[in-house]
C-alpha cells in the first residue's frame, strides 16, 4: 500500500513508556512506539497481550499508570474521553457498542456531536441556527453512510442489523467525528471472508482520505494485506515492530504465536 499524498513522516501518535496496571497485574509494561501520520498500523499479539488496554489508554477510557501518550505532539493521557474525541481520535469497540434502539442514521448523527454546537436552549426553543445545523448533521451522516455502504438501511434500528453491518456502522459513526486517528478494535471479529474483504477495502479507503488507522486484529490475512506497519505485543510487552514481511519472518513473533517447541 502506498499513499504518497498523505504520507508525511510527522508522527500522529507517540507512545512512550506507557504502563497500565490493574492492582497487581501489569497489563502494559512500558510500551514505546511511534505511529507516523497517514498509515495503517496494526497491533497484534496473542490473547491477553494488552492490545485493547492500549486502545483504552489512547482513547482515554483508561488513564495510563505511567508514561505518556502524545497525539500530534500534545500530551493526551489523563484527558477525558470526550475531549480526546474532540481533538480527533475516534474508535470502535471489540464488542459492538452501538445505540441499539436508535436508527442507523441516528447512530451516525450522534457521531457529529463533537463537531456541532447547539445547546439546550437553542434546541429546546428551536432557534433557526439550530435547525440548519440539524439539517447539516443529517446530510453529513448520510454521506458517511453512503461511504461505508449502509445508506439502504439508514432507517432501521441499529440493533436489528446483522453483526457484520453493525461493525461497519460503528466505523461510520466513528468517521462522523472526523478523526485524524481512527482506532479499530477487532473490526473483522465475527465477519465471514467476503465481509472481511469489503472491510479491508473500506479501511484502505479511509486511510486514503487522510485518516490514520490503527487496528487491533486477529485475522492475519487482513492484517498482512492492508497494514503498512505492525506492532506485536506479548504479555503487555513490546515484542516486535516492522512491515508485514519483517513480522512474518521474525522468529520471536513465530515463537510467541506457536510456542517454543
Amino acid at each position: 500500500m502506498e499513499h504518497p499524498a498523505q504520507k508525511s513522516q510527522a508522527p500522529i501518535l507517540e507512545l512512550s513508556d506507557v504502563q497500565m496496571s490493574f492492582g497487581g497485574i501489569d497489563a502494559l509494561k512500558g510500551i514505546e512506539h511511534v505511529v507516523p501520520e497517514g498509515i495503517i498500523q496494526a497491533v497484534i499479539g496473542p490473547n491477553g497481550a494488552g492490545k485493547t488496554t492500549l486502545f483504552h489508554c489512547i482513547s482515554g477510557l483508561l488513564k495510563p499508570t505511567a508514561g505518556s501518550v502524545l497525539f500530534r505532539g500534545k500530551e493526551i493521557n489523563g484527558l477525558v474521553p470526550h475531549r480526546i474525541a474532540q481533538l480527533g481520535i475516534s474508535r470502535t469497540f471489540q464488542h459492538v457498542a452501538l445505540f441499539k434502539t436508535m436508527t442507523v442514521l441516528e447512530n451516525v448523527m450522534l457521531g457529529r456531536h463533537t463537531r456541532t454546537h447547539s445547546g439546550f436552549w437553542a434546541t429546546g426553543l428551536r432557534f433557526p441556527g439550530m435547525r440548519s445545523e440539524e439539517r447539516q448533521i443529517k446530510q453529513r451522516a448520510e454521506t458517511y453512510l453512503d461511504f461505508v455502504g449502509l445508506a439502504d438501511v439508514a432507517h432501521l434500528e441499529a440493533g436489528t442489523l446483522p453483526l457484520g453491518k453493525q461493525k461497519i456502522l460503528e466505523i461510520a459513526r466513528a468517521l462522523a467525528t472526523e478523526p485524524r486517528l481512527l482506532l479499530l478494535d477487532e473490526p473483522a471479529g465475527g465477519l465471514n471472508m467476503t465481509e472481511t474483504e469489503v472491510l479491508g477495502a473500506l479501511i484502505q479507503r479511509i486511510c486514503q482520505n487522510g485518516t490514520t488507522v490503527v487496528l487491533v486484529e486477529h485475522d492475519m490475512n487482513l492484517v498482512m494485506d492492508i497494514s503498512d506497519q505492525i506492532l506485536v505485543l506479548h504479555y503487555g510487552e513490546y515484542l516486535a515492530s516492522g512491515t508485514p514481511r519483517e513480522i512474518k519472518d521474525n522468529p520471536a513473533v513465530i515463537e510467541a504465536y506457536l510456542g517454543e517447541n
Binding site: 457498542a97 436508535m102 441516528e106 459513526r173
Partner: protein, 326 residues
C-alpha cells in the same frame, strides 16, 4: 417533531380544550376540571422526569423536593415579603436549578440503585427542612396567606381560567421537550442511556448532559410548584414528601418511560386514581400504589402507551425514527 407527533399534539390540545365544556355539564363529574388542574401541574413535574428517566436513563427520587422548593420559594417570597408571584416564580426556579446542580454533580456519578438512594436521601432532607423551619414554612401546620395569581391586573379566579393557564404551560413545556428530543441534545441523552462509554468516546460530555437534564427537570418541577402554591394558596410539607417523589416516578412508569405522551397519560391517570377514584382506600393508598407498580413492572414494562401504540398500529418506538423535517 415528527408528523405523527404533530397530529397527536393537535388532537390532545383539542381534547384538553373541550374537556371542561363536557364535564362541567355533567354535575356528577364537574369537579374533574379541578382534578385536571392538578394533573396539569404534576405533568410539568413528570415531563422533566420522563426526559431524565426514560431518555437519559437516570432515576431521581427527588422530584417532590424540587417541586417543594419551587412551591415554598413562591409561598415565602409572596406571603412574607409581598413579592409579585411572577417575580417569585423564576427566583424559585433558579434556586431549584442551583440546588439541583450542587446535588446533581456528585450524585449523578452514581448509577442505578445508588443514584436512587442518593436522590432519595436528598428528598428526605428537604422534606425535613420544610417541616422544621417553622418560622418560614409554618412547619407541619402549614402555610397560609398566599396570594393567588393575576395576569396584567386581571385575577385568575375561576377553575376554568386556571385550567387553561396550567395546560397552556404544559403544552409549551411539552413542545420544548419534543424539540430537545429531536436534536443533538436528545440523541446524546439517549446515547447515554444505551451505551454510556461509547457515547463518551464519540465525544458526548456525558457527565455534563446528565447534570443538565437533572437541572432541567428540577426547574420544571419548581415552576410546577409555584403554580401549585398560588392555585392551592396553602402549603403543607406532606405534599412534598418521599411518597410524592415515588408517585411521580410511578406516573412516568405507568404511562411509559420512553414516551413524553406516556408521561402525560400516566400523570393524568394516576392523578385521577389518587385524587378521585381511590379516596376510599385512604391509609391503604401505599398498598394500591405498590400493586400498580408491580403490575406495570411485570406486565407492562413499556407502559400503557405501548398498548395504545399497538392498537393504533403506530410504530413500536417512535423516537427511534428520524424526524421527517430533518
Amino acid at each position: 417533531m415528527r408528523k405523527t407527533d404533530r397530529w397527536i399534539f393537535a388532537f390532545v390540545v383539542l381534547l384538553i380544550a373541550i374537556f371542561p365544556w363536557v364535564v362541567l355539564n355533567i354535575s356528577a363529574i364537574s369537579n374533574y376540571v379541578e382534578v385536571m388542574i392538578f394533573a396539569g401541574i404534576f405533568s410539568l413535574v413528570c415531563l422533566g422526569l420522563s426526559l431524565l428517566m426514560g431518555y437519559a436513563g437516570q432515576i431521581s427520587l427527588a422530584q417532590a423536593a424540587f417541586f417543594g422548593i419551587g412551591a415554598y420559594s413562591s409561598g415565602i417570597l409572596t406571603a412574607h415579603f409581598g413579592w409579585n408571584p411572577w417575580l417569585a416564580m423564576p427566583v424559585g426556579a433558579a434556586l431549584a436549578a442551583a440546588v439541583a446542580w450542587v446535588v446533581g454533580v456528585p450524585a449523578l456519578r452514581l448509577k442505578g440503585h445508588y443514584l436512587a438512594m442518593a436522590t432519595l436521601g436528598f428528598g428526605v432532607i428537604v422534606h425535613i427542612v420544610f417541616n422544621e423551619e417553622i418560622d418560614w414554612t409554618g412547619g407541619p401546620s402549614g402555610m397560609v396567606d398566599i396570594p393567588g395569581l393575576s395576569i396584567a391586573g386581571w385575577r385568575i379566579s375561576s377553575e376554568i381560567q386556571w385550567y387553561y393557564l396550567i395546560w397552556g404551560v404544559v403544552f409549551l413545556a411539552l413542545l420544548f421537550c419534543f424539540h430537545i428530543l429531536h436534536s443533538r441534545v436528545g440523541r446524546a441523552l439517549r446515547a447515554i442511556h444505551e451505551e454510556e462509554v461509547a457515547a463518551e468516546a464519540m465525544g458526548v460530555p456525558t457527565a455534563r448532559y446528565k447534570v443538565q437534564i437533572f437541572v432541567f427537570g428540577a426547574v420544571l418541577a419548581a415552576i410546577a410548584g409555584s403554580f401549585y402554591t398560588h392555585y392551592v394558596t396553602f402549603l403543607s410539607p406532606s405534599s412534598f414528601n418521599l411518597m410524592w417523589s415515588i408517585r411521580f416516578v410511578l406516573m412516568v412508569m405507568v404511562g411509559g418511560m420512553q414516551s413524553l405522551w406516556g408521561a402525560l397519560l400516566g400523570t393524568v391517570l394516576l392523578t385521577f386514581v389518587g385524587n378521585e377514584w381511590l379516596q376510599v382506600f385512604a391509609d391503604f393508598e401505599v398498598l394500591v400504589y405498590g400493586t400498580i407498580l408491580l403490575v406495570v413492572a411485570l406486565f407492562l414494562p413499556q407502559g400503557l402507551i405501548a398498548i395504545l401504540r399497538r392498537d393504533f398500529g403506530g410504530s413500536r418506538n417512535p423516537i427511534s425514527r428520524v424526524s421527517d423535517e430533518g
